[in-house]
Protein backbone atom coordinates (compact mmCIF):
# COMPACT_ATOMS: atom_id res chain seq x y z
CA UNK A 1 0.00 0.00 0.00
CA UNK A 2 2.61 2.50 1.01
CA UNK A 3 4.51 1.83 -2.18
CA UNK A 4 1.37 2.67 -4.15
CA UNK A 5 0.95 5.89 -2.26
CA UNK A 6 4.45 7.13 -2.93
CA UNK A 7 4.20 6.12 -6.56
CA UNK A 8 0.94 8.01 -6.92
CA UNK A 9 2.32 11.06 -5.23
CA UNK A 10 5.35 11.13 -7.45
CA UNK A 11 3.28 10.92 -10.60
CA UNK A 12 1.79 14.22 -9.70
CA UNK A 13 4.52 16.35 -8.20
CA UNK A 14 4.02 20.05 -8.32
CA UNK A 15 6.26 22.06 -10.49
CA UNK A 16 8.41 23.72 -7.86
CA UNK A 17 8.39 27.01 -9.70
CA UNK A 18 4.62 27.02 -9.60
CA UNK A 19 4.16 25.91 -6.01
CA UNK A 20 2.66 28.68 -3.96
CA UNK A 21 4.86 29.94 -1.19
CA UNK A 22 2.91 29.55 1.99
CA UNK A 23 3.94 31.25 5.22
CA UNK A 24 7.41 31.94 3.92
CA UNK A 25 7.90 28.27 3.23
CA UNK A 26 10.34 28.15 0.34
CA UNK A 27 9.39 25.98 -2.62
CA UNK A 28 11.23 22.70 -2.72
CA UNK A 29 14.46 23.21 -4.63
CA UNK A 30 14.14 19.92 -6.43
CA UNK A 31 11.18 17.81 -7.50
CA UNK A 32 10.14 14.81 -5.49
CA UNK A 33 12.57 12.01 -6.21
CA UNK A 34 11.15 9.30 -4.02
CA UNK A 35 8.78 7.96 -6.63
CA UNK A 36 9.04 5.37 -9.37
CA UNK A 37 12.45 5.05 -10.81
CA UNK A 38 13.50 3.42 -14.00
CA UNK A 39 16.07 0.74 -14.17
CA UNK A 40 19.17 2.90 -14.42
CA UNK A 41 18.58 4.85 -11.29
CA UNK A 42 17.83 1.89 -9.08
CA UNK A 43 20.80 0.11 -10.45
CA UNK A 44 23.32 1.95 -8.37
CA UNK A 45 21.38 1.65 -5.12
CA UNK A 46 20.40 -1.97 -4.66
CA UNK A 47 23.08 -4.61 -4.51
CA UNK A 48 21.62 -7.97 -3.77
CA UNK A 49 23.81 -10.75 -2.34
CA UNK A 50 23.24 -12.91 -5.40
CA UNK A 51 24.59 -10.12 -7.56
CA UNK A 52 27.76 -9.84 -5.47
CA UNK A 53 28.40 -13.58 -5.17
CA UNK A 54 27.64 -14.08 -8.85
CA UNK A 55 29.96 -11.30 -9.90
CA UNK A 56 32.75 -12.66 -7.69
CA UNK A 57 32.46 -16.22 -9.05
CA UNK A 58 32.27 -15.12 -12.67
CA UNK A 59 35.05 -12.59 -12.15
CA UNK A 60 37.31 -15.28 -10.67
CA UNK A 61 36.77 -17.66 -13.60
CA UNK A 62 37.26 -14.82 -16.07
CA UNK A 63 40.56 -13.81 -14.47
CA UNK A 64 41.79 -17.41 -14.40
CA UNK A 65 40.78 -17.80 -18.04
CA UNK A 66 42.70 -14.71 -19.05
CA UNK A 67 45.78 -15.78 -17.08
CA UNK A 68 45.62 -19.24 -18.69
CA UNK A 69 45.82 -17.62 -22.11
CA UNK A 70 49.34 -16.42 -21.27
CA UNK A 71 50.57 -18.72 -18.58
CA UNK A 72 49.82 -22.06 -16.98
CA UNK A 73 52.06 -23.86 -14.45
CA UNK A 74 52.73 -26.62 -17.01
CA UNK A 75 52.07 -26.81 -20.73
CA UNK A 76 48.59 -28.13 -21.45
CA UNK A 77 49.88 -31.02 -23.56
CA UNK A 78 52.86 -31.84 -21.30
CA UNK A 79 52.17 -35.52 -20.66
CA UNK A 80 54.41 -36.91 -17.95
CA UNK A 81 54.91 -33.55 -16.28
CA UNK A 82 54.61 -35.46 -13.05
CA UNK A 83 53.76 -38.92 -11.74
CA UNK A 84 50.53 -40.41 -13.02
CA UNK A 85 47.33 -40.05 -11.06
CA UNK A 86 48.96 -38.39 -8.10
CA UNK A 87 46.95 -36.44 -5.56
CA UNK A 88 47.50 -32.77 -4.74
CA UNK A 89 51.12 -31.95 -3.94
CA UNK A 90 53.47 -28.98 -3.80
CA UNK A 91 54.41 -29.42 -7.48
CA UNK A 92 50.94 -30.23 -8.68
CA UNK A 93 48.39 -28.38 -6.54
CA UNK A 94 45.45 -30.25 -7.99
CA UNK A 95 47.26 -33.49 -8.74
CA UNK A 96 47.83 -35.12 -12.11
CA UNK A 97 45.78 -37.21 -14.53
CA UNK A 98 46.51 -40.69 -15.89
CA UNK A 99 48.93 -39.28 -18.47
CA UNK A 100 50.77 -37.37 -15.78
CA UNK A 101 49.47 -33.97 -16.99
CA UNK A 102 49.13 -31.21 -14.44
CA UNK A 103 45.45 -30.92 -13.44
CA UNK A 104 45.63 -27.30 -12.30
CA UNK A 105 46.93 -26.27 -15.73
CA UNK A 106 44.13 -28.27 -17.35
CA UNK A 107 41.56 -26.62 -15.10
CA UNK A 108 42.90 -23.18 -15.95
CA UNK A 109 42.82 -24.01 -19.64
CA UNK A 110 39.27 -25.23 -19.12
CA UNK A 111 38.34 -21.85 -17.64
CA UNK A 112 39.69 -20.20 -20.75
CA UNK A 113 37.68 -22.48 -23.05
CA UNK A 114 34.56 -21.93 -20.98
CA UNK A 115 34.94 -18.15 -21.17
CA UNK A 116 35.63 -18.20 -24.91
CA UNK A 117 32.58 -20.38 -25.50
CA UNK A 118 30.38 -18.27 -23.23
CA UNK A 119 31.38 -14.95 -24.78
CA UNK A 120 31.42 -16.07 -28.40
CA UNK A 121 28.20 -18.06 -28.35
CA UNK A 122 26.45 -15.18 -26.55
CA UNK A 123 27.70 -12.86 -29.30
CA UNK A 124 26.42 -15.21 -32.01
CA UNK A 125 23.11 -15.71 -30.20
CA UNK A 126 22.77 -12.00 -29.54
CA UNK A 127 23.40 -10.91 -33.12
CA UNK A 128 21.07 -13.54 -34.59
CA UNK A 129 18.42 -13.32 -31.89
CA UNK A 130 18.22 -9.52 -31.80
CA UNK A 131 17.81 -9.32 -35.55
CA UNK A 132 15.11 -12.00 -35.65
CA UNK A 133 13.32 -10.66 -32.57
CA UNK A 134 13.19 -7.02 -33.68
CA UNK A 135 12.11 -8.09 -37.17
CA UNK A 136 9.34 -10.26 -35.78
CA UNK A 137 8.13 -7.50 -33.47
CA UNK A 138 8.09 -4.82 -36.13
CA UNK A 139 7.02 -6.44 -39.36
CA UNK A 140 3.75 -7.65 -40.79
CA UNK A 141 1.77 -10.37 -39.13
CA UNK A 142 2.59 -13.26 -41.46
CA UNK A 143 6.34 -12.75 -41.14
CA UNK A 144 5.95 -12.49 -37.37
CA UNK A 145 4.05 -15.79 -37.28
CA UNK A 146 6.65 -17.43 -39.52
CA UNK A 147 9.55 -16.22 -37.37
CA UNK A 148 7.81 -17.26 -34.15
CA UNK A 149 7.34 -20.76 -35.53
CA UNK A 150 10.98 -21.01 -36.58
CA UNK A 151 12.01 -19.86 -33.12
CA UNK A 152 9.69 -22.33 -31.40
CA UNK A 153 11.06 -25.13 -33.55
CA UNK A 154 14.60 -24.11 -32.69
CA UNK A 155 13.81 -24.00 -28.97
CA UNK A 156 12.24 -27.47 -29.16
CA UNK A 157 15.22 -28.86 -31.09
CA UNK A 158 17.76 -30.40 -28.69
CA UNK A 159 20.98 -28.39 -28.61
CA UNK A 160 23.04 -31.58 -28.47
CA UNK A 161 21.46 -32.90 -31.63
CA UNK A 162 22.13 -29.63 -33.39
CA UNK A 163 25.71 -29.75 -32.15
CA UNK A 164 26.17 -33.30 -33.42
CA UNK A 165 24.91 -32.23 -36.82
CA UNK A 166 27.32 -29.32 -36.95
CA UNK A 167 30.21 -31.43 -35.66
CA UNK A 168 29.49 -34.05 -38.32
CA UNK A 169 29.67 -31.42 -41.03
CA UNK A 170 32.50 -29.26 -39.71
CA UNK A 171 34.46 -31.54 -37.39
CA UNK A 172 34.84 -31.24 -33.63
CA UNK A 173 36.27 -27.87 -32.65
CA UNK A 174 35.59 -24.96 -30.35
CA UNK A 175 34.10 -23.09 -33.33
CA UNK A 176 31.62 -25.89 -34.01
CA UNK A 177 30.54 -25.88 -30.38
CA UNK A 178 30.15 -22.09 -30.44
CA UNK A 179 28.12 -22.23 -33.65
CA UNK A 180 25.76 -24.88 -32.26
CA UNK A 181 25.30 -23.20 -28.88
CA UNK A 182 25.01 -19.76 -30.46
CA UNK A 183 22.31 -20.82 -32.91
CA UNK A 184 20.36 -22.65 -30.22
CA UNK A 185 20.65 -19.67 -27.87
CA UNK A 186 19.58 -17.20 -30.53
CA UNK A 187 16.08 -18.69 -30.37
CA UNK A 188 15.75 -17.74 -26.71
CA UNK A 189 17.13 -14.25 -27.32
CA UNK A 190 14.82 -13.82 -30.32
CA UNK A 191 11.79 -14.75 -28.23
CA UNK A 192 12.65 -12.38 -25.39
CA UNK A 193 13.53 -9.60 -27.84
CA UNK A 194 10.30 -10.01 -29.79
CA UNK A 195 8.03 -9.79 -26.74
CA UNK A 196 9.84 -6.83 -25.23
CA UNK A 197 10.40 -4.95 -28.48
CA UNK A 198 6.71 -5.32 -29.31
CA UNK A 199 5.86 -3.82 -25.92
CA UNK A 200 8.25 -0.89 -26.37
CA UNK A 201 7.07 -0.27 -29.93
CA UNK A 202 3.58 0.35 -28.57
CA UNK A 203 4.81 3.00 -26.13
CA UNK A 204 3.85 6.62 -26.59
CA UNK A 205 7.44 7.75 -26.80
CA UNK A 206 7.96 5.61 -29.87
CA UNK A 207 4.94 7.27 -31.50
CA UNK A 208 6.35 10.61 -30.37
CA UNK A 209 9.72 9.77 -31.92
CA UNK A 210 8.01 8.83 -35.18
CA UNK A 211 5.98 12.03 -35.02
CA UNK A 212 9.18 14.03 -34.78
CA UNK A 213 10.57 12.41 -37.91
CA UNK A 214 12.76 9.64 -36.53
CA UNK A 215 12.90 6.83 -39.07
CA UNK A 216 12.29 3.18 -38.26
CA UNK A 217 15.95 2.22 -37.75
CA UNK A 218 16.56 5.36 -35.77
CA UNK A 219 13.67 4.53 -33.48
CA UNK A 220 14.92 1.00 -32.94
CA UNK A 221 18.45 2.15 -32.19
CA UNK A 222 17.55 5.17 -30.06
CA UNK A 223 14.52 3.92 -28.18
CA UNK A 224 13.79 0.22 -28.55
CA UNK A 225 17.22 -1.31 -27.94
CA UNK A 226 18.07 0.79 -24.86
CA UNK A 227 14.69 -0.02 -23.35
CA UNK A 228 14.96 -3.77 -23.82
CA UNK A 229 18.65 -3.93 -22.88
CA UNK A 230 18.09 -4.52 -19.13
CA UNK A 231 15.86 -7.53 -19.77
CA UNK A 232 18.19 -8.86 -22.42
CA UNK A 233 21.19 -8.51 -20.14
CA UNK A 234 19.56 -10.89 -17.65
CA UNK A 235 18.82 -13.35 -20.43
CA UNK A 236 22.37 -13.10 -21.71
CA UNK A 237 23.76 -14.09 -18.30
CA UNK A 238 21.51 -17.13 -18.13
CA UNK A 239 22.44 -17.99 -21.71
CA UNK A 240 26.16 -17.75 -20.91
CA UNK A 241 25.67 -20.24 -18.07
CA UNK A 242 23.77 -22.53 -20.41
CA UNK A 243 26.53 -22.21 -22.99
CA UNK A 244 29.21 -23.34 -20.55
CA UNK A 245 27.08 -26.27 -19.48
CA UNK A 246 26.45 -27.19 -23.12
CA UNK A 247 30.14 -27.00 -23.98
CA UNK A 248 30.97 -29.26 -21.02
CA UNK A 249 28.33 -31.75 -22.20
CA UNK A 250 29.66 -31.70 -25.75
CA UNK A 251 33.23 -32.26 -24.59
CA UNK A 252 32.07 -34.98 -22.24
CA UNK A 253 30.55 -36.74 -25.23
CA UNK A 254 33.72 -36.19 -27.24
CA UNK A 255 32.11 -33.60 -29.51
CA UNK A 256 33.99 -30.63 -28.10
CA UNK A 257 37.35 -29.15 -28.89
CA UNK A 258 40.12 -31.78 -29.20
CA UNK A 259 43.37 -31.51 -27.16
CA UNK A 260 45.49 -29.52 -26.56
CA UNK A 261 42.48 -27.24 -26.04
CA UNK A 262 41.50 -28.00 -22.44
CA UNK A 263 37.90 -28.48 -21.42
CA UNK A 264 36.19 -29.20 -18.13
CA UNK A 265 33.84 -31.63 -19.84
CA UNK A 266 36.68 -33.68 -21.28
CA UNK A 267 38.50 -33.67 -17.95
CA UNK A 268 35.37 -35.18 -16.40
CA UNK A 269 35.20 -37.87 -19.03
CA UNK A 270 38.87 -38.76 -18.71
CA UNK A 271 38.65 -38.85 -14.92
CA UNK A 272 35.58 -41.05 -14.97
CA UNK A 273 37.51 -44.33 -15.24
CA UNK A 274 40.05 -43.36 -12.58
CA UNK A 275 37.69 -41.74 -10.13
CA UNK A 276 38.36 -44.22 -7.35
CA UNK A 277 42.14 -43.85 -7.64
CA UNK A 278 42.31 -40.05 -7.94
CA UNK A 279 38.90 -38.49 -7.18
CA UNK A 280 40.20 -34.91 -7.53
CA UNK A 281 40.39 -35.37 -11.26
CA UNK A 282 36.60 -35.61 -11.40
CA UNK A 283 35.66 -33.45 -8.43
CA UNK A 284 37.58 -30.31 -9.42
CA UNK A 285 36.31 -29.89 -13.00
CA UNK A 286 32.83 -30.70 -11.72
CA UNK A 287 33.10 -28.01 -9.08
CA UNK A 288 34.47 -25.58 -11.69
CA UNK A 289 31.47 -26.12 -13.98
CA UNK A 290 28.97 -25.86 -11.16
CA UNK A 291 30.58 -22.74 -9.66
CA UNK A 292 30.77 -20.94 -13.00
CA UNK A 293 27.23 -21.74 -14.09
CA UNK A 294 25.93 -20.94 -10.62
CA UNK A 295 27.82 -17.65 -10.70
CA UNK A 296 26.30 -16.67 -14.03
CA UNK A 297 22.80 -17.64 -12.88
CA UNK A 298 23.21 -15.67 -9.66
CA UNK A 299 24.43 -12.72 -11.67
CA UNK A 300 21.38 -13.04 -13.92
CA UNK A 301 19.04 -13.28 -10.92
CA UNK A 302 20.69 -10.31 -9.27
CA UNK A 303 20.27 -8.24 -12.41
CA UNK A 304 16.68 -9.38 -12.73
CA UNK A 305 15.89 -8.36 -9.17
CA UNK A 306 17.33 -4.97 -9.90
CA UNK A 307 15.43 -4.53 -13.16
CA UNK A 308 12.11 -6.26 -12.63
CA UNK A 309 9.27 -3.74 -12.90
CA UNK A 310 7.24 -5.86 -10.47
CA UNK A 311 9.82 -5.17 -7.80
CA UNK A 312 10.00 -1.51 -8.66
CA UNK A 313 6.56 -0.66 -7.35
CA UNK A 314 5.36 1.36 -10.31
CA UNK A 315 3.02 0.83 -13.28
Amino acid sequence: MSADLTAGAALDPRDPSLAPTVDGLAPQPSPDRSGPRPVVARASRRRSPSLIVGALLVGLVAVVGVVATFWTPYALDAAGAGPRLSGPSAQHWAGTDRLGRDLLSQLMGGAQSAMVVAVCSVLVAGALGLTLGVLAAATTRWLDVALVNVVDLLIAFPTLLLAMLIVTVRGASLTSAIAAIGIAGSAVIARVTRINAARVLREDFVTAATASGTGWWGTVARHVLPNIAPTLLVQVMLLAGGAILAEASLSYLGLGAPPPQASWGRLLREAQSTMLVQPWGAILPGVAVVATVLGLNLLGDGLRERNDPNLRGDR
Partner: protein
Protein backbone atom coordinates in the same frame (compact mmCIF):
# COMPACT_ATOMS: atom_id res chain seq x y z
CA UNK B 1 -5.44 29.31 -49.17
CA UNK B 2 -5.43 27.18 -46.09
CA UNK B 3 -2.16 25.78 -44.82
CA UNK B 4 -3.52 22.48 -43.57
CA UNK B 5 -6.64 20.99 -45.02
CA UNK B 6 -8.24 17.70 -44.10
CA UNK B 7 -10.60 16.54 -46.83
CA UNK B 8 -13.00 13.61 -46.48
CA UNK B 9 -10.68 11.88 -44.04
CA UNK B 10 -12.08 8.43 -43.34
CA UNK B 11 -10.43 5.91 -41.02
CA UNK B 12 -11.46 2.27 -40.85
CA UNK B 13 -10.22 -0.59 -38.75
CA UNK B 14 -9.24 -3.86 -40.37
CA UNK B 15 -12.46 -5.24 -38.89
CA UNK B 16 -14.43 -2.82 -41.03
CA UNK B 17 -15.50 -0.42 -38.31
CA UNK B 18 -15.54 3.23 -39.39
CA UNK B 19 -13.82 5.43 -36.84
CA UNK B 20 -13.78 8.63 -38.88
CA UNK B 21 -16.41 9.35 -41.47
CA UNK B 22 -15.49 11.90 -44.12
CA UNK B 23 -14.02 14.44 -41.72
CA UNK B 24 -13.16 17.76 -43.34
CA UNK B 25 -11.72 20.94 -41.90
CA UNK B 26 -9.04 23.40 -42.75
CA UNK B 27 -6.88 25.91 -40.98
CA UNK B 28 -5.20 29.00 -42.40
CA UNK B 29 -1.55 29.81 -41.86
CA UNK B 30 -1.29 31.33 -38.41
CA UNK B 31 -4.76 30.10 -37.52
CA UNK B 32 -5.83 28.41 -34.32
CA UNK B 33 -8.23 25.55 -34.74
CA UNK B 34 -9.84 23.76 -31.83
CA UNK B 35 -11.14 20.24 -32.40
CA UNK B 36 -13.53 19.24 -29.68
CA UNK B 37 -15.58 16.18 -28.92
CA UNK B 38 -16.30 13.56 -26.28
CA UNK B 39 -14.07 10.50 -25.89
CA UNK B 40 -14.50 8.19 -28.84
CA UNK B 41 -15.53 11.02 -31.13
CA UNK B 42 -12.43 10.47 -33.24
CA UNK B 43 -10.66 13.72 -32.47
CA UNK B 44 -7.37 12.10 -31.45
CA UNK B 45 -7.53 9.66 -34.35
CA UNK B 46 -7.83 12.69 -36.63
CA UNK B 47 -4.65 14.17 -35.21
CA UNK B 48 -2.78 10.87 -35.50
CA UNK B 49 -4.02 10.34 -39.06
CA UNK B 50 -2.71 13.74 -40.14
CA UNK B 51 0.85 12.60 -39.39
CA UNK B 52 0.34 9.01 -40.51
CA UNK B 53 0.64 7.71 -36.97
CA UNK B 54 -2.40 5.45 -36.93
CA UNK B 55 -1.89 2.16 -35.10
CA UNK B 56 -1.54 -1.03 -37.14
CA UNK B 57 -4.80 -2.21 -38.58
CA UNK B 58 -6.26 1.22 -39.21
CA UNK B 59 -6.31 2.68 -42.69
CA UNK B 60 -6.99 6.26 -43.68
CA UNK B 61 -8.48 7.43 -46.93
CA UNK B 62 -9.16 10.95 -48.14
CA UNK B 63 -6.65 13.75 -48.23
CA UNK B 64 -4.52 15.61 -45.72
CA UNK B 65 -3.13 18.57 -47.62
CA UNK B 66 -0.22 20.54 -46.23
CA UNK B 67 0.25 23.45 -48.60
CA UNK B 68 -1.34 21.34 -51.31
CA UNK B 69 0.83 18.26 -50.69
CA UNK B 70 -1.14 15.18 -49.70
CA UNK B 71 0.52 13.76 -46.58
CA UNK B 72 -1.46 10.53 -46.80
CA UNK B 73 0.29 9.78 -50.09
CA UNK B 74 3.77 10.25 -48.61
CA UNK B 75 5.80 7.42 -47.12
CA UNK B 76 9.21 6.65 -45.70
CA UNK B 77 11.86 9.36 -45.80
CA UNK B 78 9.65 11.92 -47.48
CA UNK B 79 7.10 11.64 -44.69
CA UNK B 80 9.83 11.63 -42.01
CA UNK B 81 11.15 14.88 -43.49
CA UNK B 82 7.76 16.50 -42.81
CA UNK B 83 7.18 15.01 -39.37
CA UNK B 84 8.71 17.19 -36.70
CA UNK B 85 10.07 19.68 -39.23
CA UNK B 86 6.84 20.93 -40.87
CA UNK B 87 4.18 19.40 -38.64
CA UNK B 88 4.96 18.59 -35.02
CA UNK B 89 2.87 17.02 -32.32
CA UNK B 90 2.43 17.24 -28.57
CA UNK B 91 0.80 14.33 -26.80
CA UNK B 92 -1.59 13.99 -23.90
CA UNK B 93 0.57 12.24 -21.36
CA UNK B 94 4.05 13.76 -21.23
CA UNK B 95 5.38 11.03 -18.94
CA UNK B 96 4.85 8.24 -21.45
CA UNK B 97 5.59 10.42 -24.47
CA UNK B 98 9.17 10.88 -23.29
CA UNK B 99 11.67 8.02 -23.29
CA UNK B 100 12.31 7.11 -19.62
CA UNK B 101 15.91 6.06 -20.30
CA UNK B 102 17.07 9.16 -22.16
CA UNK B 103 17.96 12.53 -20.74
CA UNK B 104 15.66 15.38 -21.61
CA UNK B 105 18.55 17.16 -23.31
CA UNK B 106 19.13 14.33 -25.76
CA UNK B 107 15.42 14.08 -26.46
CA UNK B 108 15.05 17.78 -27.27
CA UNK B 109 18.23 17.63 -29.33
CA UNK B 110 16.95 14.64 -31.32
CA UNK B 111 14.78 16.46 -33.89
CA UNK B 112 17.40 19.21 -34.24
CA UNK B 113 20.14 16.76 -35.13
CA UNK B 114 17.79 14.85 -37.37
CA UNK B 115 16.29 17.69 -39.40
CA UNK B 116 18.87 20.42 -39.06
CA UNK B 117 21.95 18.22 -39.03
CA UNK B 118 23.31 20.04 -35.99
CA UNK B 119 26.34 18.69 -34.15
CA UNK B 120 25.92 17.39 -30.64
CA UNK B 121 27.25 20.61 -29.11
CA UNK B 122 25.16 22.88 -31.34
CA UNK B 123 22.02 20.86 -30.62
CA UNK B 124 22.74 21.04 -26.90
CA UNK B 125 23.09 24.80 -27.07
CA UNK B 126 19.88 25.07 -29.06
CA UNK B 127 18.11 22.78 -26.58
CA UNK B 128 19.12 25.10 -23.74
CA UNK B 129 17.68 28.04 -25.66
CA UNK B 130 14.46 26.10 -26.22
CA UNK B 131 14.27 25.35 -22.50
CA UNK B 132 14.38 29.04 -21.78
CA UNK B 133 11.76 29.63 -24.44
CA UNK B 134 9.32 27.31 -22.68
CA UNK B 135 10.25 28.97 -19.38
CA UNK B 136 12.16 26.10 -17.90
CA UNK B 137 14.62 27.88 -15.67
CA UNK B 138 17.84 26.16 -14.75
CA UNK B 139 18.15 24.74 -18.26
CA UNK B 140 21.39 22.88 -17.54
CA UNK B 141 19.84 20.83 -14.75
CA UNK B 142 16.68 20.14 -16.75
CA UNK B 143 18.64 19.01 -19.80
CA UNK B 144 20.60 16.54 -17.71
CA UNK B 145 17.49 15.11 -16.05
CA UNK B 146 15.44 12.07 -16.93
CA UNK B 147 11.71 12.60 -17.53
CA UNK B 148 10.72 11.00 -14.21
CA UNK B 149 12.82 13.54 -12.35
CA UNK B 150 10.59 16.36 -13.62
CA UNK B 151 7.07 17.38 -12.67
CA UNK B 152 4.14 16.95 -15.03
CA UNK B 153 4.19 20.61 -16.00
CA UNK B 154 7.91 20.56 -16.63
CA UNK B 155 7.56 17.44 -18.75
CA UNK B 156 4.88 18.99 -20.92
CA UNK B 157 7.08 22.06 -21.37
CA UNK B 158 9.87 19.73 -22.49
CA UNK B 159 7.47 18.11 -24.95
CA UNK B 160 6.55 21.57 -26.24
CA UNK B 161 10.21 22.49 -26.60
CA UNK B 162 10.80 19.27 -28.54
CA UNK B 163 7.82 19.90 -30.81
CA UNK B 164 8.82 23.49 -31.53
CA UNK B 165 12.53 22.71 -31.88
CA UNK B 166 12.58 22.75 -35.67
CA UNK B 167 10.16 25.66 -36.01
CA UNK B 168 7.34 23.65 -37.56
CA UNK B 169 4.57 25.34 -39.49
CA UNK B 170 1.83 23.35 -37.81
CA UNK B 171 1.60 22.22 -34.19
CA UNK B 172 -0.84 19.42 -33.44
CA UNK B 173 -1.66 19.40 -29.75
CA UNK B 174 -3.55 16.30 -28.67
CA UNK B 175 -5.09 17.07 -25.26
CA UNK B 176 -1.78 18.52 -24.07
CA UNK B 177 -3.15 19.74 -20.76
CA UNK B 178 -5.57 16.96 -19.87
CA UNK B 179 -3.06 15.02 -17.79
CA UNK B 180 -2.06 18.07 -15.76
CA UNK B 181 -3.70 19.44 -12.66
CA UNK B 182 -5.62 22.67 -12.96
CA UNK B 183 -3.01 25.21 -11.86
CA UNK B 184 -0.31 23.66 -14.01
CA UNK B 185 -2.82 23.36 -16.83
CA UNK B 186 -3.39 27.12 -16.73
CA UNK B 187 0.34 27.79 -16.83
CA UNK B 188 0.90 25.49 -19.77
CA UNK B 189 -2.05 26.98 -21.66
CA UNK B 190 -0.74 30.51 -21.14
CA UNK B 191 2.66 29.38 -22.34
CA UNK B 192 1.19 27.67 -25.39
CA UNK B 193 -0.82 30.77 -26.16
CA UNK B 194 2.26 32.94 -25.96
CA UNK B 195 4.43 30.55 -27.99
CA UNK B 196 1.85 30.36 -30.76
CA UNK B 197 1.76 34.16 -30.90
CA UNK B 198 5.51 34.48 -30.83
CA UNK B 199 6.42 31.77 -33.35
CA UNK B 200 3.43 32.22 -35.62
CA UNK B 201 2.93 28.44 -35.70
CA UNK B 202 -0.45 27.23 -36.87
CA UNK B 203 -2.20 25.48 -34.02
CA UNK B 204 -4.55 22.52 -34.13
CA UNK B 205 -5.70 21.94 -30.57
CA UNK B 206 -7.57 18.73 -29.82
CA UNK B 207 -9.44 18.48 -26.55
CA UNK B 208 -12.63 17.36 -24.87
CA UNK B 209 -12.48 20.37 -22.60
CA UNK B 210 -14.45 23.28 -24.03
CA UNK B 211 -13.18 25.99 -21.65
CA UNK B 212 -9.61 24.98 -22.48
CA UNK B 213 -10.27 25.07 -26.21
CA UNK B 214 -12.09 28.40 -25.92
CA UNK B 215 -9.00 29.81 -24.32
CA UNK B 216 -6.50 29.04 -27.08
CA UNK B 217 -8.49 28.46 -30.27
CA UNK B 218 -10.28 30.81 -32.68
CA UNK B 219 -11.93 28.36 -35.05
CA UNK B 220 -13.82 25.38 -33.78
CA UNK B 221 -14.69 21.96 -35.13
CA UNK B 222 -17.12 19.91 -33.09
CA UNK B 223 -16.89 16.16 -33.57
CA UNK B 224 -19.15 13.35 -32.52
CA UNK B 225 -19.00 9.65 -33.36
CA UNK B 226 -16.41 10.15 -36.08
CA UNK B 227 -18.18 13.00 -37.86
CA UNK B 228 -17.90 16.74 -37.85
CA UNK B 229 -21.19 18.07 -36.50
CA UNK B 230 -20.34 21.74 -36.66
CA UNK B 231 -17.58 23.92 -38.12
CA UNK B 232 -17.63 27.38 -36.67
CA UNK B 233 -15.61 29.84 -34.65
CA UNK B 234 -15.28 29.76 -30.90
CA UNK B 235 -17.01 33.11 -30.58
CA UNK B 236 -19.94 32.11 -32.74
CA UNK B 237 -20.28 28.76 -31.00
CA UNK B 238 -20.42 30.39 -27.58
CA UNK B 239 -22.95 32.98 -28.70
CA UNK B 240 -25.17 30.99 -30.96
CA UNK B 241 -24.37 27.32 -31.36
CA UNK B 242 -26.06 25.98 -34.46
CA UNK B 243 -25.95 22.27 -33.77
CA UNK B 244 -27.92 20.85 -30.83
CA UNK B 245 -24.91 18.78 -29.74
CA UNK B 246 -22.70 21.87 -29.65
CA UNK B 247 -25.36 23.67 -27.62
CA UNK B 248 -25.51 20.75 -25.23
CA UNK B 249 -21.71 20.77 -24.85
CA UNK B 250 -21.69 24.47 -24.09
CA UNK B 251 -24.52 24.27 -21.61
CA UNK B 252 -22.85 21.38 -19.86
CA UNK B 253 -19.58 23.29 -19.69
CA UNK B 254 -21.34 26.40 -18.37
CA UNK B 255 -23.07 24.36 -15.72
CA UNK B 256 -19.89 22.92 -14.22
CA UNK B 257 -17.01 25.25 -15.10
CA UNK B 258 -15.97 28.78 -15.84
CA UNK B 259 -16.71 28.87 -19.54
CA UNK B 260 -16.80 32.51 -20.59
CA UNK B 261 -19.32 34.14 -22.90
CA UNK B 262 -18.04 35.18 -26.28
CA UNK B 263 -17.21 38.79 -25.44
CA UNK B 264 -15.08 37.70 -22.47
CA UNK B 265 -13.34 34.93 -24.41
CA UNK B 266 -11.67 36.94 -27.14
Amino acid sequence: MSLLEVRDLTVRTSGGRTLLDAVSWSVEAGGRLGVIGESGSGKSITALAVLGLLPDGMTATGEVLLDGVDLLALHGRRLDAIRGAQVAMVFQEPLTALDPLMTVGRQIAGPLRLHRGLSRAQAREQAAALCRMVRLDDAERILGSYPWQLSGGQRQRVALAMALACEPRVLLADEPTTALDVTVQAEVLDLLDELVDRTGVTLVFVSHDLPVVARVARDLVVMREGRVVESTTVARALDAPADPYTRQLIEAARAVTRLPFAQEAL
